[in-house]
């Protein structure tokens, strides 16, 4: 009993260490690609590590009109991201945390984190942050069905409701027979990935105009370690949702945890570069166009579900 | 001979484009129609003597049913061509045709005729579809010969609604073809009506039923069955009157003919005529009721006649759904309706020119002001609503009798009720238009040509004559055609 628990704890710890160590490199890669495209030198790839370290050393200032909700926001969103990271199987093996139905937990951990980020934003009483919160609410409630329907299609194909089975090597067989359905799901997941990570063409993380921002405007009133947690949480989110996408598109089997992690990290690096390319070549959509894009992604993953339901088995 | 039937209108259309002067175009239109009518008469007499004609490896064929419709099409076209010359001569100078427009009219007129003849002589239901779609394309520009806002609007509605409907008809044809291939027919033969009918017994009833519903909805759009009739009153009221007459008199019948062709197939595949009959009576009764309501509220005389067409196409469709006796009566009704509606449009068109308005409240005292066309319109409407000595009374009576004999009591009751409503609704404006004194400041009428007067008189005489006594050759023609629909 104790041996099992110790092994479990060791697995969790190993995964966490890996995710925490690797995650901040990805936004840096995307930023580097962008600056390469625009002919600038750009920040170092490891810049985010230094930012986070610096922020952790700082103190925080809270407005007198805020309550503990503001303080809970960053902590909960960071812990939700860390919890979700435990369900990603490396190299097609079992993830440390896995059970039937964990994909629903996975989807709603993001919901939890989003809820607290939004309440924290509303708690400040600032008009801009309220606006950002309302946009986040609209767009995520359009993106969430797309994510869940995508999971549904994968679960139907895999015959299981657990993330580890969904993203296992069984995907290779599914690719060989139901490629169209998987393509649709992957496309929908890519849109969800961009939405959840506040990337162009949905949201622009680097804009300087609060009016047009969604995610960044919500965290304007956070500082010091709180901001560090938020930055870290968004890097982890990039890692975890990116890992989902990479596993779907590239479901290769590899040796153990470290090999799998390496392969995954390579895939993620490619994804980050791709995100950089997308961000440099596309313009952000008008806000009114975003629901259209998200509806299309919802319909794509819904079509994937229909295809997998209709396929003869 | 069938080749010539198809070739004459096409040649005539091309020749029209080369004729420089307007009067010569109209003469050529009459000559061409007459030639086509003569050819058709020869072909039809051959059909009745020999039982059928075939050409081009069975792609072209003429049997009793299509021969009947061919007679109707070419005859009405000839009448309308004769009328068209008078009509356009009497048109105000700004609405009349110049040489260029007359050439366009002639070419479109003949391509319209050619495509309708194509519908009738193609034995292949796929080519029949192509020809029916061509009738839409050829006739759309005839509606807006004088391009003004209203006629362009009507023509656009006609084009888009009928094209969409006819695509559904194509889908229905595809379903029937699928059933026919599965039943063992192959290649081009699988779409030939004769082979479809022989294979119908082994076809998958599911496919055939879906196909038949699509065909009734699709071709029914062009027949003007409610609720797909939205284009019909607009197109009929805005088109130049000779075109309206041809629309009502033969175009609708051509589409109904296409539905007739599929009725025996669905009867054989579904194991009895009841299923298809129910669908047809349903659509027919719906059209009759819709038309009955709308006839009551019309002010425009040509729209009144258009809704009357919706009603009569409904009557024909109900008749087709009522078994052999009903089918024969429906064909009889087709003939009567074509002749009387064409006559009504002829008269109404000239009255509209005379009074300068289509509003029935403005057309008073027409019997006195314009004896030929005023009395003609009054008589034509009386016949159309089913007054006793007219032929339409007879055919409606025969359809009701078929309904009651078949035990379709509710159908017959609704049928009679709708006819009664239309009777009252149309009789009042007919009396208002005919009776009373003409408005004081009307210019004296220009003398009518002898031909126009003879045309009207002959049509009325024919309608009353066949209403009182049907010659045996005519009733045997109906019976032979009806047997092709019910029991080929």
């Amino acid at each position: 009993m104790t041996g099992e628990t110790a092994q479990f704890a060791k697995d969790i710890l190993r995964q966490w260490v890996f995710v925490l160590a690797a995650a901040p490199i990805l936004p840096g890669l995307a930023a580097r690609t962008k600056s390469w495209f625009s002919g600038r030198k750009g920040p170092p790839v490891l810049q985010l590590y230094w930012d986070i370290l610096k922020l952790f050393r700082k103190g925080t200032v809270y407005s007198r009109s805020t309550t503990s909700v503001l303080r809970a926001g960053p902590v909960i969103s960071f812990s939700a991201a860390m919890a979700a990271s435990l369900m990603i199987p490396f190299g097609g093996m079992e993830a440390p945390l896995t059970f039937q139905g964990d994909l629903i937990l996975f989807a709603y951990l993001w919901g939890l984190s989003r809820f607290f980020t939004m309440t924290a934003a509303l708690d400040t009483g600032s008009a801009f942050e309220g606006m950002g919160a309302s946009r986040e609410a609209i767009f995520s409630c359009l993106a969430e069905p797309a994510l869940l329907l995508g999971f549904l299609a994968l679960a139907r194909e895999a015959g299981s409701l657990s993330m580890s089975d969904l993203l296992s090597v069984g995907l290779i067989r599914i690719w060989s027979i139901h490629a169209p359905a998987l393509c649709l799901v992957a496309a929908a997941m890519a849109v969800v990935f961009l939405t959840e990570n506040s990337r162009i063409p949905i949201d622009d993380p680097n804009t300087h105009l609060e009016l047009t921002m969604i995610h960044e405007v919500m965290v304007l009133d956070h500082g010091g370690p709180d901001l560090a947690l938020i930055e870290y949480a968004s890097a982890v989110k990039f890692f975890v949702l990116g890992a989902l996408l990479v596993r779907i598109v590239y479901p290769i089997r590899s040796g153990g945890f470290w090999d799998g992690g390496e392969v995954l990290l390579l895939g993620l690096a490619a994804l980050a570069v791709l995100v950089g390319v997308v961000e440099s070549t596309m313009a952000r959509f008008r806000l009114s166009r975003i629901p259209q894009l998200l509806t299309l992604s919802f319909v794509l993953s819904g079509f994937g579900v229909i295809l997998s339901l209709a396929a003869p088995r | 001979m069938l080749w010539a039937l198809a070739a004459v209108p096409l040649m005539a259309a091309l020749v029209c484009l080369l004729i420089p002067r307007r009067s010569a175009v109209f003469t050529w239109v009459i000559l061409g129609s007459a030639a086509e009518t003569a050819l058709a008469a020869a072909a039809v007499s051959a059909v009745y003597r020999r039982g059928g004609l075939e050409a081009c490896f069975g792609h072209l064929a003429l049997d009793a049913l299509s021969a009947f419709h061919l007679c109707l099409v070419t005859g009405i076209f000839l009448f309308s061509s004769i009328y068209a010359r008078d009509y356009f001569d009497h048109e105000d100078s700004d609405r009349s045709l110049d040489d260029r427009e007359a050439r366009k009219f002639g070419a479109l007129w003949f391509s319209f005729l050619g495509s309708m003849v194509g519908v009738l002589i193609f034995n292949n239901v796929g080519l029949m579809w192509v020809a029916l779609e061509s009738t839409t394309l050829a006739s759309a520009f005839l509606i807006c010969l004088h391009a003004d806002r209203l006629s362009v609007e009507a023509a656009w509605k006609y084009l888009i609604i009928c094209s969409a409907g006819i695509v559904l008809g194509l889908l229905g044809t595809v379903f029937i073809y699928g059933a026919s291939v599965a039943a063992g027919a192959s290649g081009e033969g699988a779409l030939q009506w004769t082979s479809l009918v022989t294979h119908a017994g082994q076809m998958d009833p599911g496919l055939v039923k879906i196909g038949f519903v699509l065909i009734v909805v699709g071709y029914g759009t062009k027949v003007g069955l409610a609720p797909m009739h939205a284009w019909l009153p607009d197109a009929h009221s805005q088109a130049p009157t000779p075109v309206s007459a041809v629309f009502s008199g033969v175009l609708l019948n051509c589409a109904a003919y296409c539905i007739c062709r599929f009725l025996p197939i669905v009867s054989a595949a579904a194991g009895g005529p009841e299923w298809g009959g129910r669908i047809l009576t349903g659509f027919g009764l719906a059209s009759m009721m819709v038309a009955a309501v709308f006839v009551l509220i019309q002010r425009d005389v040509k729209r009144l006649l258009a809704y009357s067409s919706v009603e009569h196409m409904g009557i024909i469709t109900v008749g087709l759904g009522l078994g052999p006796a009903g089918c024969a009566a429906a064909l009889y009704h087709t003939l009567n309706h074509s002749v009387s509606k064409t006559l009504a449009f002829f008269c109404a068109g000239r009255l509209v020119q005379r009074y300068g308005t289509r509003n029935m409240a403005g057309i008073v005292g027409s019997a006195a002001a314009c004896p030929t066309w005023g009395t003609g319109l009054f008589t034509a409407i009386l016949i159309l609503i089913g007054c006793a000595p007219g032929a339409i009374f007879m055919s409606e009576f025969l359809i009701v009798r078929a309904g009651i004999a078949g035990g379709h009591m509710i159908v017959s009751a609704i049928f009679i009720a709708s006819i009664a409503v239309v009777f009252c609704g149309a009789l009042r404006p007919a009396i208002v238009m005919a009776a009373g004194d003409p408005p004081p400041r009307m210019e004296p009428p220009r003398p009518e040509t002898v031909g126009a007067r003879w045309l009207a008189a002959a049509m009325i005489a024919w309608l009353i004559f066949t209403g009182v006594w049907m010659p045996p050759w005519l009733s045997s023609a109906f019976d032979r055609a009806a047997r092709l629909i019910t029991d080929p």
Binding site: A179, P180, L184, P291, Q292, T295, L296, V299, L300, G302, F303, I306, L307, L309, A310, P312 | N124, G126, L127, W129, V130, E133, S134, L137, A140, A147, D148, R149, L150, V152, E153, A154, A155, W156, K157, L159, I160, S163, A164, V167, L170, L171, V174, F175, Y177, G178, V181, G187, E188, L191, D204, L207, I210, P233, D234, S237, F294, I297, Q298, R303
Partner: protein, 217 residues
């Protein structure tokens, strides 16, 4: 039939559905016409199995479909759009989000209906029936949901494409002569539609069909 043919056909059919959704979503008629052109090209791939079986007619037909539906009809429509100066989908009766969602509902219904069409032989037959039905219904949706005449013509062409897919599903296509005649007829229809839209534009100086309401009752 080899597996890769089945796979390719399924992919093509899925793409046809995606072009439908794109046309429902897009706010520019020129983009919609491009998607219609793409759809036409995709449809010309569908007689692939017959062509591989060595039927020269299927190859000829595929080429004809590609030329008529992929090139000529879109060219006509683009010319019409440029000559009437109406590029945007203005105030459709249902917005893009609602119409895409409705299109999704149509797709779900079409999969039920498509599976019910009897006579399935090949593994991709159910998909083909569903995609055909969905395309037919989508075409109708677009026809009633667009105010401009061009939008209705685009809907009509999609409707026609759906019938083509269904005809391949139900009977492996119609006989060659009929298929050619239909193709020619549809091309003629597109030309006449184009000419008509120009005369509508000349009369009304717009092509907003929903504002043509003079004729009633």
């Amino acid at each position: 039939m080899t597996a890769w043919v089945t796979g390719t056909l399924s992919g093509v059919l899925v793409l046809v559905v995606i072009t439908n959704f794109y046309i429902l979503n897009t706010g520019r008629y020129v983009n919609a016409v491009r998607a219609v052109a793409l759809q036409g090209c995709l449809l010309s791939l569908l007689p692939l199995p017959q062509a591989l079986a060595g039927s020269p007619e299927a190859v000829f037909l595929a080429a004809g479909t590609m030329i008529v539906k992929g090139v000529l009809m879109p060219l006509i429509l683009v010319r019409v759009i440029h000559s009437t100066d109406e590029f945007r989908v203005v105030h459709p009766f249902l917005g893009p989000v609602a119409s895409v969602l409705l299109g999704f509902a149509i797709l779900a219904v079409a999969f039920r209906a498509g599976a019910a069409i009897p006579g399935a032989v090949h593994p991709h037959d159910a998909l083909m029936g569903a995609v055909g039905t969905a395309t037919v219904l989508c075409g109708m949706l677009i026809m009633v949901n667009r105010r401009k005449a061009v939008g209705q013509v685009i809907g009509f062409l999609i409707l026609e494409n759906g019938v083509l897919v269904l005809s391949l599903r139900i009977s492996r296509g119609l006989p060659f002569v009929i298929e050619l005649a239909i193709l020619f007829d549809v091309l003629l229809a597109a030309m006449i539609f184009g000419g008509f839209i120009q005369s509508v534009h000349a009369q009304f100086s717009h092509t907003d069909v929903s504002r043509m309401r003079k004729l009633k009752g």
